[in-house]
Structures are given as C-alpha cells and as structure tokens.
Amino acid sequence: MPGTNGGASSGTQITFLEAIKQAMFEEMERDPAVVLLGEDVGVYGGAFKTSEGLLERFGWERVIDTPISESAIIGAACGMSYLGLRPIVEMQFIDFIVCAFNQITNFVAKGHYLWNAPAPMVVRGPSGGGVHGGPFHSANPEMYFVHTPGLKVIYPSTPYDAKGLLKAAVRDNNPVLFFEHKFLYRRIKGEVPAGDYTVPIGKAAVRREGKHLTILSYAAMLHTSLEAAEALAKEGIEAEVIDLRTLLPLDEETILHSVKKTNKCLVVHEDTKTGGIAGEIAAILCEKAFGDLDGPLMRVTSLDTPVPYAPTLEEYFLPNAKKIFSAAKELARY
C-alpha cells in the first residue's frame, strides 16, 4: 500500500496488534507517568493480548487490572491525569465505552473548556465488525464522541499509523479516544521504522491518487475501498482514496483539496448511515465546495440496524468492495 509507512524504509513488518502493543510499551518505557488501566490488561495481557508482557515489565502500579466498572475506570483515569499522569484506558471491547458515556462526555471532555483542566488520557479498544462478534462486540460508536467537543477521535487503518497515532495520543494534552478495528488486528501487516516516531493527530492521508472521484474512508473500510479502487481502475476510473485517520478534528483541508480536484465524493464507513461521518462531510462540502461538485455526495455505509450476528446477516449489513464499486461507478457517470 503506498504511503502507509510515511516513507520509512528500514523497519520491520508487524501486525496492527503488535503496533498497538509496541506503542504502549515504548510510551511506558519513555515516560513513567504513563500507566495502563483496564479489565484483564495485567495478568491476562488483555482480551486480545495487546498488553501482553506489560505487567511483567512495568509492575502492578502501572498496569492495573480493574473491576468491570467502565465508569470507574474512565473516572479514575481522569483523576490520575489531573496529577500529571498520562493514563491509557483499555475498553475490553469498545462497545462497552458507552457504559462510561457520562464520564467521558460530561466529565472528561468538558473539563478544559469549563475550568481549564486538561485531561491527558487515552481510551482505546477493539471496535468494528466482520468477525461475527454480534451486536455487542462489533460496534462502531465513534460518532457518539465525534459529536462531543473536547475529545479527539482517532480510527487508524495501518500498523504504522496505529503505532504513531497511539504514541501521539499518549503525548497529547487532551482526552483522545482511539478505536482499533479488530478485523485488522492480525489480518494486516505493515512496516514500522525502528526508532521512535509519531503521526500527527488531525491529518488525513492520501492512500491512492486518482482524478475521477474521491473516496473518503477510514479503518477497515479503507482497505475495502482500496480493493474497490483497484477494480475501478480496471474500468478506467481512477479513484483517489483518502484515509481520514482522525475523525475529530477532521482534516477538512485534505478533503477539500481532493474533492476540488476530482469534483466527486464518495464516503465509505462501517458505522451506520444516519448520523455517520458522511453526513458531516456532506455538510462541509456543501458549505465549502458546493460549486466544485459535479455530482451528489454518495455514501456506502452499514445499514441503520444493530450489527447482526449470523454471517449471512452481517455480510449483508456491512459495506463491501462490490457495494463501493457500484456506488463509485454510478457517481463517476455524473
């Protein structure tokens, strides 16, 4: 995949999961103010083994197994951040983040605006479907939080970005929600450089250049979009594929630059349709690039339903390369 490693060349190929683990390991190594809290993150090494070995190296005080109490975990992390710590909180599955919705949206997110209290903390966890996790282990709840001023929301698609953005999130002075698409954990590998690096929060990346239309996507759907772009290329349609990487703040500049070039925009996300980021992007394009559009903004998203369990149902629910291909072809005709 072009552009996914930021030009680094002397690194090694690692999985998405390994990238998360490396980021936490290196940040804890670098800064004793970094601690990890979550359910089963210590002894067990996390449900997906993203924190394997951290307890053994950094000890009980820094790798904290918690009760099943999402509100308490998030609240405690916020309190820790007030004393200058930089806690990383793992939600065992990101679906459970809504158990702490009030803590995040009312306490953590509003502190800096209201009383000048920064909360440098990261809440991360496995998200997304395609692994038959059913309605409570497959969610993409990012938009609940993109609607919350004061948070930053990251949803990477490559090991390079996952590692660099997670490190950037730990060093950021604001609360950052970090979504890790679990479909990618062990399915993709990517190159990361040997040394320390970060990826800037709030910057999208052009993954494939093209001139006929722009496809905006992120996380697992970025890969599906690239697959569709290859098929489109065979029919002479060159799609520019952009990885949003950060959803809040959104990189309007990169989006507008591309759409002003291609004049057509398709948004692909695994989140459900109503209230998804595509709607926000449509509004931005209407406000700032209306005259540049040669066709309607189109979107390929999951259905407006809970994530169903049966493979046949889930496949029908999720976007796929074929659906993206059809929508892009339709858009290209304008």
């Binding site: 070995g53 308490a72 309190g79 007030y82 004393l83 710590l85 800096h112 209201l114 009383w115 002075n173």
Partner: protein, 417 residues
C-alpha cells in the same frame, strides 16, 4: 461536644461556619436582586459538615466539592469573591463565566477538582486522584462528598468499589440530609444507616452527627489519617437535614413541619456557639469581632464581584482543547524515586500462587503468564503492613452512640411516618 482541639482551631471552625453562612446569606440577597444568573443551592444547616471535614485536610490534599460544599471551598482557601462571581457568571470568576455555582476547580494551587451536575461522578475521579498521588509518592488524601440521593447512582458504587479494591487513600463524606430534591431518603435507600453501604465494599465507615462540627472534624481527621496511612478508603455518614428546598425556587412544602422544627432547633452554628461559650472559648465581644470581620470582608468581596464584567461573547468559542505546552505544561510531581516504577525494579515475576492450590510459572511462554498470584499491588508502595492488616477488620463505627443523639434518629423516623 468534647474538648479536644486547640483554641485557634475551635475558633477557626467557628469562623468558617459563620463565613459559610454569611456567604450564602449574601448570595440569597444577590439572587433576590436578580444578580445571580442561574440557580442557587443552600447548605443552610449543613455547614458543620463542609467545614469540619475540609478542615481535616492538609494543604497538599485534594478535594472535590458538591453543590452544597461552599464551606469546604472556603476552608481550602477559595475567596468568597470567586464564589460570588461563579454564581453571577462574571468574567473574573474561576471559569470566566463558562460554568456557575461551585463548579470550578484549581489543579495547581488549591488542589480542587470541579464537580459536575451528574451525581457520583466525582467518586471514581477522586479515587484516581488518590491513586495517582500514591503512585507519585505524594502521600495525599482525596476527599469528596455525596448526598443520600447521590448514593443511588451506579457510579457511586463503581467508584467506591474500585477505591476499595485499590485501597485508595480516599475519604467519602455521605451527607444524609434526608431529602433528594422532594424524595425522602426512605425512597432512595432501604437502609436506616447509609454508612452500611461501606460493608458491601469491605471498607471502614463512621456515623457522625452532621450538626456537630467538632465531631465532624475529629472523625474526618481520624479518617484522613487512616486513609493516608494506607488503610484504604473510608466512608463517613453525616446525619443532617436540608433546611431549604433543593434550590431557591423550591419552597420544600413536602417536608413535614415537625421534622423541620426538630432540625431548626439543632442549628449547627447555634449548637457550636453554645459549646464555645460554655467552654469560655468565645464571648460576646469575640463573636462581635468575628461578625464584623466577616461583614467587612464580604462587602469588599461582593463589590469586587459586582464590578467584574460579563465575559465577552466570543469567549464562548475558546478553550475547548488544550493547545499544548503553551497552554498547559503537564508534569507529574514525583516525590519518590522514579526508579521504583521503571524497569528493572518495576518488574514482576511471572509466577502465580493461589493459596491452597499451589504455584507455578505463567503459561503461554514467559511473556504470557496466566497469573501473577494475588499480591496486593498497594502494599508494595505503602509499606504499612501492620496497619493494612488492621484495616481489614470488619467495619468499626467510631462512637456512633456518642456522636449521634438518639433524638436525631427518632425524629427522622417519626418524620418519615
């Protein structure tokens, strides 16, 4: 009341209770003059709790007030002008008009965490403050307050349970003022003593007469010292009564007359004045001096608040994010060697032990141990084994009979019927 403090301490408690009441009296006037933008919540009759408990904290300790803890803020060093300006939404207020009431804090100097309106949320947050303080070696205690109504929230239980398993140096004051807005405590909690909540978390608890400032102080002092020594979180139930409605708009007609009369006769300031006079710690002259001092101070503080402008409208757009070091230099203040929490000293052996079931090496390779045994993490850092063991004994309520007048319980029971 028992004599056990120094004279200046006794007079401090008196001064702060009077100041607490005077600040709130002045805000009632400001409210009636339409100078207070939003709601006004009263702690009339509960001053002994805010003042007595906060007075037990050291300067380095952290607190997070609830809406009726103006007294705690004053004890911690907040100026009355800040409280006035918060309510009046003034530009010079701690939140520059972005929030009101006691919703403000000070991370750097006073160590105050701002509350939010959702009840119970401060409990895990202050647990985190306590854990971080312990981790950094600061030997601090974190304190917050909750009401009888707030003890029904999920986050109250999640937070207290987490504090308990972490044995965090945290003290929670449960102000049982018998009313959650219009709902009596019996419809909130099926317990006579809310301190019994502590049993569920295996932590220590006390029951105190919330209208007795000396009892409040002494108990809180004891709790703070025990928490600081590593005994884990402590819950203090203060039995009291909310003399005003939920806020200024609420005449609280749902409160039985007998109940109100009982508690009005037990005004904490009047009770304390009687004690101080009896002990010859305060006479009419001393009382007058304190009154004059407070009046002069508050006139000045009110003028300052009234003269502060409203915030400029465009301020609304600023400050959502911390922009980095230029905005906040975030640094943990280490008061223990960092080497203790970094490799190699932070390393934990990949060996598990379960009492009665033996021990072994972690499975799944050296880097994937299945169990590390059940060594409590806290005792590594606090090193207070003897006291920790003591702390595990069943909840010992300190002199509840002595501190809670039998009349208090029967009056509330009567009023509930």
């Amino acid at each position: 009341m028992k004599k056990e403090l120094t004279r200046p301490q006794y007079l401090d408690l008196y001064f702060y209770m009077r100041l607490n009441r005077a600040v709130e009296d002045m805000m009632v006037k400001l409210f009636r003059q339409n100078k207070i933008v939003g709601g006004l919540y009263s702690s009339l009759g509960q001053e002994a709790i805010s003042v007595g408990t906060a007075y037990a904290l050291e300067k380095k300790d952290w607190l997070a007030p609830m809406i009726r803890n103006i007294g705690a803020l004053l004890v911690k060093g907040v100026l009355p002008r800040d409280i006035f300006m918060q309510h009046m939404a003034k530009y010079d207020s701690p939140t520059k008009g972005k929030d009101g009431t006691s919703h403000f804090g000070d991370l750097d100097n006073l160590h105050i965490v701002s509350p939010i309106s959702m009840l119970g949320d401060l409990i895990p947050v202050m647990t985190g403050v306590a854990m971080a303080g312990r981790y950094l070696g600061q030997k601090i205690v974190a304190m917050t307050w909750i009401g009888d109504g707030g003890s029904s929230t999920g986050v109250f239980h999640e937070g207290l349970n987490f504090a308990a398993v972490q044995r965090a140096p945290f003290v929670l004051i449960l102000e049982n003022n018998l009313w959650a807005y219009s709902t009596p405590v019996r419809k909130q909690v099926p317990l006579e003593n809310l301190a019994d909540r502590a049993k569920a978390y295996g932590i220590q608890s006390y029951i105190v007469d919330g209208n007795d400032v000396v009892a409040m102080y002494s108990t809180a002092k004891q709790a703070v010292e025990r928490a600081r020594a590593g005994e884990g979180p402590i819950l203090i139930e203060a039995k009291t009564f909310r003399r005003m409605g939920h806020a200024q708009h609420d005449p609280a007609e749902y409160v039985p007359k007998e109940m109100r009369a009982y508690w009005e006769a037990r005004d904490p300031i009047a009770l304390y004045e009687k004690f101080l006079t009896g002990e010859k710690l305060l006479d009419a002259k001393g009382r007058k001096e304190i009154e004059e001092k407070i009046n002069a101070l508050l006139a000045k503080e009110r003028d300052f608040a009234e003269n502060s402008p409203m915030p400029p409208p465009e301020l609304a757009e600023t400050g959502v994010y911390c922009t980095g070091d230029d905005c906040h230099k975030i640094r943990a203040k280490w008061e223990r060697p960092v080497a203790e929490v970094t490799p190699p000293r932070s390393r934990v052996e990949a060996v598990w032990t379960v009492p009665g079931f033996g021990s072994g090496k972690g499975s799944g390779g050296a880097r994937a141990p299945i169990h590390f045994g059940d060594t409590p993490p806290v005792e590594h850092t606090i090193g207070n084994e003897a006291k920790s063991t003591n702390g595990r004994k069943p909840a010992a309520k300190v002199a509840p009979k002595k501190t809670v007048k039998p009349g208090a319980a029967s009056a509330s029971r009567k009023a509930r019927r």
